[in-house]
């Protein structure tokens, strides 16, 4: 479990994919801010021999100002683990969250897409897309339709069995999206001068999936202001290209990664979705999901 303990200072324990990350700091308020960027759950991945443990020690680089304005000095064990991700110098809690997520993605044995992922009835949907394509919003809206959230950003697949794995970062939602979901725009925690909010699944009334799901459907969303809702089935070639575009792991996986992506593209129905009306898009995804051929799901 993520937790902030009050010992001689504070301690936050995170499980990101197969990694255990311990964060120690002398300011409990800052640790609480950091903890707000993650779900209380830890996901289903289990630690295995050889997995990396990262310890982060925080100190104040500039002690004045509010908890957000105060900048963090960061040292890690192993040393320098996060330096390349955010550059040298002090960081904010949100900077550190991004760096921790990137570190976990860079060091996992799972194949990761920049994607939202959800599950229902044991079947998983992967929504790979660039930033600002609407995948977090779609993930939250699908969550309101009874899908359990695996992640709004890190679509991780276990290459051994094709299962989607939960990633317990809180959802990052634009503040102006929350009313569209029928929610208060003050929900969650505010960072970056309030343009976006980190919101935990339970604050949105969503179920957070602790166990994974068999990848069963791929939908590549693009929000396009004013466009009609269009959902187009992709052939294997375009599907592979789209998945590769969203890949965070291909550089490390090389031939094995290409084979995994081709297998996903051949085995699973893959759609391109253009939308401007959120609930129309959700309806379309739900209809496709409900009509999935069960033979599509399951192990490769």
């Amino acid at each position: 479990m993520n937790r902030v303990e009050n010992r001689s200072g504070g301690y936050l324990s995170l499980r990101l994919l197969e990694h255990r990350i311990g964060i120690l700091g002398d300011d409990e308020a800052l640790l609480e801010r950091l903890a707000r960027c993650f779900e209380p759950g830890t996901g289903e991945a289990t630690r295995e021999t050889g997995d990396t443990q990262l310890t982060v020690r925080l100190s104040h680089a500039s002690p004045d100002g509010s908890a957000d304005e105060r900048r963090l000095g960061v040292t890690t064990d192993p040393a320098g683990a996060l330096d390349a991700l955010v550059g040298p110098g002090p960081r904010s809690p949100l900077d550190l969250t991004r760096a921790l997520v990137q570190w976990a993605v860079d060091h996992t044995r799972h194949y990761v897409f920049h994607a939202a992922a959800l599950r229902r009835d044991g079947k998983g949907i992967l929504l790979p897309a660039d930033s600002y394509s609407g995948k977090s919003t779609l993930a939250a809206a699908l969550g309101q339709r009874g899908f359990a959230l695996l992640s709004d950003e890190v679509g991780a697949i276990d290459p051994r069995n094709g299962r989607l794995i939960a990633f317990p970062r809180a959802l990052s939602l634009r503040r102006d999206v929350l009313p569209v979901l029928g929610l208060s725009d003050s929900l969650g925690a505010s960072f970056d001068r309030g343009a976006s909010r980190m919101v935990r699944a339970n604050e949105l009334g969503l179920e957070r999936a602790e166990s994974g799901a068999d990848a069963s459907l791929i939908v590549i969303p693009t929000f396009e202001a004013g466009s009609a809702t269009r959902m187009l089935r992709l052939g294997t070639g375009p599907a592979v290209l789209a998945l590769m575009h969203a890949s965070c792991s291909q550089r490390r996986f090389k031939a094995a990664g290409l084979d995994l992506v081709i297998d996903l593209a051949r085995r699973l129905p893959c759609y391109e979705l253009r939308f401007s009306k959120l609930w129309e898009a959700v309806d379309r995804i739900e209809t496709v999901f409900e009509n999935l051929d069960d033979r599509c799901a399951g192990e490769p």
Partner: protein
């Protein structure tokens, strides 16, 4: 003093990079470039041309083999091969200095 002889130029013999990763799936041909971290989707003609770029054939010889393989006019194929040559060069698929 002997006058300088004009240099005898041999036609380039394009040679695809050895680190490229190929996969053929149904009618699709994928090439993954691990340096640029990019995957390309080739049609059957381009895939055959890339396969023939093994450092032993000139572009002319490749065009002849492609024309024979697809049983099409050599003139038409030559234009396709020229276009593909430019495409491969832009994509960096050939070993440096071998593509002409």
């Amino acid at each position: 003093m002997t006058p300088a002889q004009p240099a005898v130029s041999t036609p380039p013999r394009p040679d695809r990079r050895p680190d490229l990763i190929f996969r053929e799936v149904e009618a699709d041909f994928f090439v993954y470039d691990p340096v640029r971290d990019r995957v390309l989707l080739l049609n059957a003609t381009s895939a055959l041309i890339l396969e023939l770029c093994d450092g032993t054939r000139s572009w002319e010889q490749i065009a002849a083999e492609v024309a024979a393989a697809f049983k099409v006019d050599r003139e038409l194929v030559s234009k396709d091969v020229e276009a593909t040559q430019r495409q491969f060069r832009r994509a960096g698929l050939l070993r440096r200095g071998t593509g002409g």
